[in-house]
Symmetry: D2
Subunit: 341 residues, 4 copies
């Protein structure tokens, strides 16, 4: 932390700041500037946020944090990238570029099984599908709940594809964990810390989506919640942030990929479907994600988007998905990745 004193702050004010820094267990280190003084507080990071409260002392202009507040998620603790194993021969964050595909919501046995077979054929390595849907409107379809989980399990049995599905309530963690291969935390729950803590106690991979107004640093702090509870299998997923632009549902922050890769060892995926909100924008964003160095993709595929109960406009038809995958393979290869199929 750097404490910036006001211009003309008194010697007493400076002394008080130094005293408080010592009380909090840090060493103060004053730099006497031409117009004002600044004080560095040196010491172990944990709990350093208490220093922020020094902003309330007389003569203090502001307190500037210098260091990153996360540890377990950082490259400093683990320099080499994490590859999270999902199943034998299937890891996210390794050499293989992984595509997860499927409908927004599980709607019926036919729908989920037909989709699973189709996306597997095109090269998807996992199946996605929501059984619990966090919908903006209470009057919208809220998901098939456990029946949906059972249908996902059937589709897995049929195709061999492991399943990724969302959990929205701490109460359902145990139930969803019985079915899911990867538990997904949606964008509205990135800072649902009660949920994150429970997921931190599982021994199961967690796909953590970035919230619409969550900074990259806050995103890593949410990952830290899971990691600090003991579960080291966290996969990050950028899915668009909220901006003033309305041509897309959200704005895909593609530069989050190299920024995250610089700061964390955790794998990074991209969800171009929620980011853009329109099917015809999905394929170019898939290619961009592979080129930018992402570890994989989540893509919405629906056999009949115009009949989907949710997110129809952003879902690819199986034939469109196939076409995208064929081209994606070449981009992934240039990016130094392999793809199945």
């Amino acid at each position: 932390m750097i404490i910036v004193m006001q211009k003309g702050a008194s010697q007493e004010a400076l002394a008080e700041v130094e005293k408080k820094i010592v009380e909090l267990g840090y060493q103060p280190h004053v730099i006497h500037g031409e117009t004002r003084n600044v004080v560095g507080a040196v010491g172990d990071e944990r709990g350093k946020e208490k220093l922020q409260a020094l902003e309330s002392l007389p003569g203090v202009e502001r307190v500037v944090p210098i260091l990153k507040p996360y540890k377990l998620a950082s490259r400093e603790v683990q320099p080499q990238p994490s590859a999270i194993e999902i199943a034998p021969g299937l890891a996210i964050g390794g050499k293989e570029f992984i595509v997860v595909a499927g409908p927004c919501a599980v709607e019926s046995r036919e729908q989920i099984c037909e989709t699973a077979v189709a996306v597997k054929k095109s090269g998807a390595r996992l199946l996605r599908g929501g059984a619990y849907k966090p919908r903006t409107s209470p009057y919208s379809f809220q998901g098939m709940e456990e029946d949906g989980l059972k249908l996902l399990a059937e589709a897995r049995e049929l195709t061999g594809l492991p399943i990724v599905t969302e959990v929205v309530n701490p109460r359902d963690v145990e139930l969803v964990a019985k079915y899911a291969d990867i538990m997904q935390v949606g964008a509205r729950n990135t800072q649902n810390f009660a949920l994150l803590k429970m997921l931190g106690q599982l021994d199961k991979p967690i796909l953590l989506k970035r919230g619409m107004a969550v900074t990259i640093q806050e995103f890593l702090m949410s990952a830290e919640y899971i990691l600090s509870e003991g579960n080291r299998k966290v996969i990050l997923c950028e899915r668009g942030i909220r901006t003033f632009e309305t041509a897309t549902r959200n704005t895909l922050d593609i530069s989050a990929v190299p920024v995250l890769k610089q700061h964390t060892h955790l794998p990074v995926m991209i969800d171009p479907s929620h980011a853009t909100g329109h099917a015809h924008l999905v394929a170019p964003m898939c290619y961009a994600a592979a080129a930018a160095g992402a570890d994989g993709l989540l893509v919405e595929v629906h056999p009949c988007p115009e009949k989907a109960t949710s997110d129809g406009p952003q879902s690819l038809r199986p034939a469109e998905f196939q076409e995208m995958m064929d081209k994606l393979r070449a981009f992934a290869q240039v990016a130094g990745r392999e793809m199945a199929g």
Copy 2:
């Protein structure tokens, strides 16, 4: 809904759109334009979001929703404003301008009781204080939990002030409800629909904060979740949205007050402490809120901000709070409101 067809879309494409509209239970109504056609879909609103999926049909450029998706929260259903009774002689949304004050987090018996006595003396009508704290960092103080609730209850007994406290986990709803007079939903949980549904089953006032990236329409949809479960005692609270500006912690959207007042009958409060993040900005925003027509305020007050475990920089000292309240009273009066004391 208005379905806008692409320029040069075929007669078949138009016919298909009309057919689907009928299938979904609406009446299509075509307006033939000079360069393209648009189709209105007329009918009952519930479930209309399925029409959005028509964007996937050939020849469709986009689907434009026309009507508001909320009902129970709207002025159309209830034209007169709701006044939510908290205790005998104490209502939010009525003639009285209500100030809720207290520390960010309950830290000790001394801290909460000293604060309660001070804010009551200055005219606060309810006491706030967090026992469960949703903190960005897992290494930050997470709240005293039930011990904190007990201390709040003691402070209530001491002063007679009803208490407002946050619930963050659906699991804790029952426990928190035993102590709280108003259950608060924080900004990170505005779209925690599992939590909202549980709160909708209580017979207790809910203070619902607006999330940092939640539009006013989505905010009202979150209120609708609670209302549609049967609990009609919802109080809205604007507390700043996330923008590019960093001089303040968030950007207080003061125009949300008249916008909400136009669309909903629910009371609207303002939290200037979280919105600005700096104590010296709080008082002007309190005055602005009263002038803009808000029904009340949530203000953070701490006996010793430089020692606060959270949000010290934005907390008023009791003397500063007293000074603010004295001036606030005059603004509230011009706004046609009464204040206690």
Copy 3:
């Protein structure tokens, strides 16, 4: 500036940073931390941005600016507030709360004169009206240009109200200055530095609007452009920033008032018409602005908003303006300000 070194950066890298700091004319001051070192660069501020380029040196993690980059606009250079005199007995930034009112664009003699008479009667102290209109579309009405300026001058003669009008092209500065009492810089030109430099050479008050994506610090740097050329008569105007919210045209950043008041001696006005975009939201935002401590308002008034060539939806009718002014007077008084009439 604080230069943060990477964890494990070599002694050579640190020595190189110190050497460069000396070369640039500053004194380096190293704080040895537990996990990394930070270096303070102490010295005169001007040109300090060159230090930013040190981020390119090996071993440097990032460079953190500590001090504000503006001087003449700051409270440190001039602690007491500036009151800008517009005409004898009329100053912005003094004891009087000033309302500027008029149509978005000058459309005809009748329109501008009728409006001028009406707003004067209600207590406005200056007349606004655009003769050069920066419109998003090349096909929209672009203003009456010099004919509009002449009509403004007629309205001034008729009512005695000084006029505020926008200049959009450096080429027109001289011409507009012949007519205007205050030259307005619109939100799209806040960072049109060529225009600002020319205005800095005038001896005439400049009303500088904040751009839609301009931070408060950048806003003050734009004021600094004018001030540093010698013109000290700068009036700031917040008119809404661009956010994700679409219920209002922009989001009025009301907390910009106390933030600006803290950092600068320049007067601060509010434009609630462009901020909200809807007439029925204007009055509450006028009251909020006065309560928050603004020095005045710019309000759009049109005798017949449904026929306005631009910004009709956000214009008050004269009767609505009268009603607003009556209530505003009481709020301004509580805020310690006087109003004419």
Copy 4:
């Protein structure tokens, strides 16, 4: 335009809206809904913004624009993509993927010539460099002005690379046009309509950057300003938008590429240097841009970034640029593009 009436609006209000629509030259078309009526206004688009003012009429809830306000920039007017010829055998928007490279600002003969030789060797097809710099601070280096233009011309003579350079003042258009092969409009001038109109009268390619808070629709309206004056040689450039995220200087809106490609025939380039602000993030964003379907890149290259007068932290060294170009070539090829060298 769609005019949405309020619930319960009277027959008279509806009749008045229909009357006004006719007066403005459109045909009204009423859809009678279950809870309210909506009125479509059918007719030629030009000047349709006057319909927006109908929002001021009694009984009108809001006015919803349906169609895009630009014409010449649209795919509807010109379905096939525009390839803008810069020099014989060199076009932007054609089969070749074009890289423009060079320093932020021209600083000296050695600097610009050394850079020009280096970037040409690596495959850049044009040289960029600023002679007029729009800097946030009046105390920062403002560019070498005409001396800088002359040095750019020397570098062009030396290498044969055409030059791209910025113009910031309508007054300098003629002068800059004497030297530049492409005139650049920077992000702060995207809505400097006075400048755009002058550039519309040239017969020279214009590289128009997107402003930090400019929507894609507004961006195309700015292009329309140039096109409507007669200059059809407009090249669009996305360079990051302003969001809440601070890990990058701006947020690169990579999905703007396919959105723009859908709506306009104009070429689309990406500037990853200004978008990210950090050299180590530039290469991944170059690859992403090529994969997403952009027509080319603007990349900042400086022989010695730690000594740059501006934008040092985001500039690549020549060796880094070379490495990036080698890998970029493979991505461009997969995207169906050719690259020189």
